[in-house]
């Protein structure tokens, strides 16, 4: 199996890297990966969320799961600070109200959908937040389930919503409710 070289732009500079490797491996090959950085290689740890442009279009991706192509301009995003509230889960009512109490900012969503475009998993983030606002925990659970908590959405939200934490809490409450309903 031959592997040709491809030219990519990493963090503003051009590099020739082996073809057929992931963006994350390309960063390492170019000496741009800090030693001992988080890498699961499976797309579940959320540590490699990145943005690249190709043929004039911008894409959000997980760098460990995306193959380099010729002409890619890659802006990798290092891990995001994770914002999350303090609460006692064991005494919370299993409703969307609880989520809105811990994360009142969800009500200020303006529907700009920047979060949707930033999500490397293609999740309907704005829809999941809307579900919380509309007291539809189950819908939030279903639509946000594949989240890997990378924080890309949160980093671009103009209203300061901590979507990963809000969606996680919503899912936890729904799951707890389901476990109590077992016949």
């Amino acid at each position: 199996m031959e592997s040709k070289t491809v030219r990519v732009s990493l963090l503003g500079r051009d590099y020739d890297v082996p073809g057929g490797i992931s963006i994350l491996d390309a960063l390492a090959a170019a000496g741009l990966s800090p030693e001992g950085s988080a890498k699961c290689g499976s797309g579940v740890c959320g540590g490699c969320a990145a943005v690249y442009s190709l043929n004039g279009k911008k894409h959000a991706c997980l760098a460990c799961r995306t193959e380099v192509s010729d002409g890619m301009r890659i802006e990798a995003m290092p891990g995001f600070p994770h914002r999350s509230g303090r609460f006692d889960f064991s005494i919370m009512a299993e409703s969307a109200e609880s989520v809105k109490t811990v994360y009142p900012e969800v009500a200020s969503c303006i529907g700009c959908r920047k979060c949707d475009h930033a999500c490397p998993k293609g999740i309907d983030v704005s829809g999941s937040i809307a579900a919380i606002n509309k007291d539809m925990l189950e819908l939030c659970f279903e639509s946000s389930f594949s989240c890997v908590v990378c924080g890309a959405c949160e980093s671009v939200c103009p209203m300061g919503i901590a979507q990963p934490s809000a969606m996680t809490l919503a899912r936890r409450l729904y799951a707890k409710r389901l476990s109590e309903e077992e016949i």
């Binding site: 199996m1 031959e2 057929g20 490797i21 992931s22 491996d25 001992g36 950085s37 988080a38 890498k39 699961c40 290689g41 499976s42 797309g43 579940v44 740890c45 540590g47 799961r65 995306t66 193959e67 891990g79 994770h82 999350s84 509230g85 303090r86 609460f87 006692d88 889960f89 064991s90 659970f141 389930f145 594949s146 989240c147 890997v148 908590v149 934490s165 996680t168 809490l169 899912r171 936890r172 409450l173 729904y174 799951a175 707890k176 389901l178 476990s179 309903e181 077992e182 016949i183």
Partner: protein
Amino acid sequence: MNMPEGYVLSVRNAEKNRERNMLSIPELLGDREKEELIKKHHPEYNDSLYNAIPFGKSAGMRVNRELCALLIEGYRGDNINPSSPMPKTDILVIGGGGAGALAALAAKKRGMRVLLVTKLRLGDSNTVMAEGGMQVPLGKNDSPDKMFADAMKGGRNRSDAELLQILARSARDSERMLERLGTAFDRDENGHLKTVRGGGTCESRIIHSGDRTGLELMRVLCDEIRAQGIETLEYTALLELLLDTEGCAAGALLEDTLEKKVFPIRAGAVIIATGGCGSLGFGGFPTTNFSGSTADGLAAAYRAGAELVDADSIQYHPTSLAFPKGHAGALITEKARSLGAALVNRNGDAFVNPLETRDAVTSAILREIAEGRGSGSGISGFVLLDTPMIDLKNGKGTVETELPNLFGFMRELGTDIRTEPIPVFPAIHYQNGGLKIDGSCMTAVRGLFAAGEAVGGIHGRNRLMGNSLTDIAVFGNRAGEFASDYSETKKDLPLTLSHLA
């Protein structure tokens, strides 16, 4: 994706024999046959990969060469003055995966001051990558005794019976604890937990969350750690443990890897939850592991005087993705085999029962390749996991519903697993052995507790699918509780670094 030579031919043979293979499944091996297969082909019996540990409580025990070197290495920098004032906590948890998180939560619940340190981020661990699920003896016909018997047999009768009893008997309570924390396990239309059957088990008892159970678990645990305000230091690595003048674990020497600063911390008790060793890359094999799995805690604990058990026993997951090389070692969950996918060689023949224990399946795959019935050779060889059988056996749509992560991942690489088999090869997956503990999770060093993959004795010489998540749920929690008991009555004594001399 460019397929290596041999893939197309073996796929054609697999297709030709698919119907036959679906009906005629190889028998499970008898005990003698299995022992012989493993002795002949499993890397565990390849002496060239091992060295004897030259010092310490387990001197003379053989371990993989790379691990042996790590045990000897240790911190060589400036030592801290052990009598200078330093920050103190009650319970120091080292490791931010499932076992560490649960230990921290248990200790916090007991009112302890807890500090959790992790050399990467909270949640970066092998736990987050676990896919198949968690064993819980739920079914009408199931019981902790059956779960115990399966695990004891699967571990080749080398498990510590007391620890394994604890695992089997505490599994249900642990599962309920996780549900109370809001962990979403898959349920059927009546709200009952769905289960699958793993290799080496007599009952279907593995509960799961899609095919990424570990991700769901860590999302919940990390959220809870933050919700409770448990102090966490990320990018903080363990260098050495600190002992007091009575030889009890009393803290650690840590390094902030971002600021490059070394600092000591005193603790009433220390819990090692640093996971496995797959990233040490034994024998050139690929690994399914997270990048940080380098046995840090095991090595530091050993140098502090802990004992090891079965530390030479490494589980190779039989089915990791063989290519493309950039993804070599990516885990292909055993659940695919639970759902009926067969393992097939280049001639299209099924050569082992898919639900044999992992040590047997790994050995069988390596045998096929060594004897010329695999594609390729040596570490670059592969056999096929015939996933097209899954929808044929269980109905159209099964792959997408039950293996969404695998389906999506392979599709991104250009393979539709509903109609195309996956090329697989064994990868280093799990550290079966490790630090020896008693029923209270304490090691041979007083005040030094351990839980999770870093621990040995529970799974004997081979862990069954689903028992690792049960292990961290049961013993992570247990370590937090017993460490709290110990710390409550522990008096502070002067510290010493003499064990590092």
